[in-house]
Amino acid sequence: MIGSWTFQKKVTAGFAVMVGLTALTATIAVYALQTVVASKDRLLGINAQNLANAEKLQADSNEYAAAFRGFLLLMQDHFLDQRRNAAEAFDGTFRRLDQGVYTPEGHRLLNDIQKAQAEFSALQERIILLRKAKNGLEAATHVEEEAVPRRERLAGAIRAFVEREQNLLDEGKRDSTARASMASTLLVCLAVTTVLFAAATAIFLGRSLSKQIGVAVQHVQSSSAELQSSANQQSAGAKEAATAMNEITTTVSELLATSRQIADSAQQVAHIAEDTLKAAGRGDQTVLQSQESIEGIRRQVDIVVSHMLNLGKKSQQIGGVLDIINELAEQTNILSINATIEAAGAGEQGKRFAVVGDEIRKLADRVSGSTKEIRTLVDEIRAAVNTTILATEAGSKSVDAGLHRFEDVTRGLKEIAGMVATTTQAAREIGLSTKQQMTAVEQVNTAIGGAAQATREAEATSTQTLQTATQLAQLSHNLSRIVQSRAAV
């Protein structure tokens, strides 16, 4: 449970215990001192007084006896006065003793003294009476002889009382000394206990303090390290943010310049759109004229296609004629061969005919070759005609498509005119919007400047935080070293 106490509570509890022990020590010391003082007072005030009174009582008794003896010897009255004064002094001392004695034994001894004094006084009275009579000296001497044991008994009683008081005084001294010794011993024990407890408390508090401070210092070190790391990251982030803010400022400046360019461009677009609107009107007229020209081209193309088709038909007819010629040439060739064969069978007379037949064959071969060339040429012509027809038809279709395109172009130009008007209006609106945008961008630029300043201040703050964290880490390190060294000591 003590382990969970705070250091303040522990110190407070330790000091409370110390104060308690000190108060107990002081109380015991006061009590012992009072006890010793009481013993001393009793010793000095009662026993010593009793002893003094006892001795005075003895002296009074002696004076009383001396006055008696003086009277007996000299028969002078002042001895009787002296005896009476001594008796009064004795009585006074006795009363004081009776008041001061507090033990039964003392009272018994006082009673013995009083009884011996009474007997001795009574005897003295009888002796004095005898002395005053005739022959009083002898009688007195005789009685004196009787009084001696009584006087000695009184003296013995007084001595016993004195011894008793002396013993009481000695006992009081010893008791006072014993009480003082006991108080000293108790005080020494309490002092030792207090010192030991104070030492234990100091060691315990020191260890507890070192432990708690060490743990706290470790936490501080860990926290300072984390704070240092965070400050580093914050510093790096602040630097990056500052760099980014600079880039943003540059970008916004460029954006501002771009917005100005856009505003100028929008104005130029508006002018160009107006010019485009005029050009679109002129283009519409030009397209109408071009459309008429293309319709004329279309009619010419139709005529060309018709002629080319006619040319293809003629080429086909030529091919048919060539087939006939080729067939004739082939048959002529066969005839020439057969003529040659027949001429060979006709002997010598047929040789000349064979020559003629051979020449006819050659002519037929040449005709056949020529017809092949013509066929090749006619085929090429037909292919060219077909290609031309296809190209012309494609051109005709292109012309038709062109006419449709021109219609589309006309519509497109009208749409362009409408769009250009819209574009002009839009360009004006763009110019106006761009001016407003420029104003907004300038405000943004100002705001970003303030943000950049704040970022630089944050960077400075983070740098200062980093320095503080570093100093805190150093301080915690030093404190840890101090605490550990003390703990080691």
């Binding site: 060739n333 061969i337 064969i341 027949e342 040789k351 000349r352 020559v355 020449e359």
Partner: protein, 173 residues
């Protein structure tokens, strides 16, 4: 002068030169007829045939001779027509035979073939007989060498198989 005019002039000159050369100078210039049997080219000497005919209708007739295609009318008489490719052991052509060579005889024998490729004067003759049957000579035409078919031998073989064989006559070379 244009190309056509130049060709016309050459044609006229060649025609005129024909009549300027003596007949005797032509005796050794015997030509051959180039034909195609199936897909193979051959040559035939004009002196070995009785005629060349194109596109005659051939009427199939039953026969024990598989090479006999049928009969055809020629100059008022019927002649047997044999497949020359089958006689030579050559695979037939795609379109079928459309030409006839008439082997001399009474009646003449028609040998059908696939194509007539003209008449040329060969550079030389060789009497080496080829590996193929009924080939008697070889001629060079241009850069090609062609086998000359032995038409009389073919006609004689056909007649023997048809049972019309005559005593052997000495053939003119």
């Amino acid at each position: 002068m244009s190309t056509e005019g130049h060709a016309l002039e050459q044609l006229r000159s060649a025609f005129d030169e024909t009549f300027a050369v003596p007949f005797r100078s032509r005796e050794d210039q015997e030509s051959v007829i180039q034909i195609r049997v199936g897909s193979e080219p051959f040559a035939v000497r004009p002196g070995h045939i009785a005629g060349l005919v194109k596109s005659r209708k051939i009427v199939p007739v039953p026969s024990r001779i598989p090479e006999l295609l049928g009969a055809s009318a020629l100059r008022g008489s019927l002649i047997p027509v044999y497949d020359l490719a089958a006689m030579l052991g050559i695979p037939p052509g795609v379109t079928g035979p459309t030409w006839l060579i008439l082997a001399p005889g009474d009646p003449p024998i028609g040998l059908a073939f696939d194509g007539f490729e003209g008449r040329q004067v060969p550079e030389w003759f060789s009497d080496e007989q080829g590996e193929r049957q009924y080939v008697r000579q070889l001629v060079r035409i241009g850069s090609a060498v062609r086998a000359v078919l032995d038409i009389p031998g073919l006609a004689e073989a056909i007649r023997r198989r048809a049972g019309l064989a005559e005593p052997a006559k000495e053939r003119k070379q």
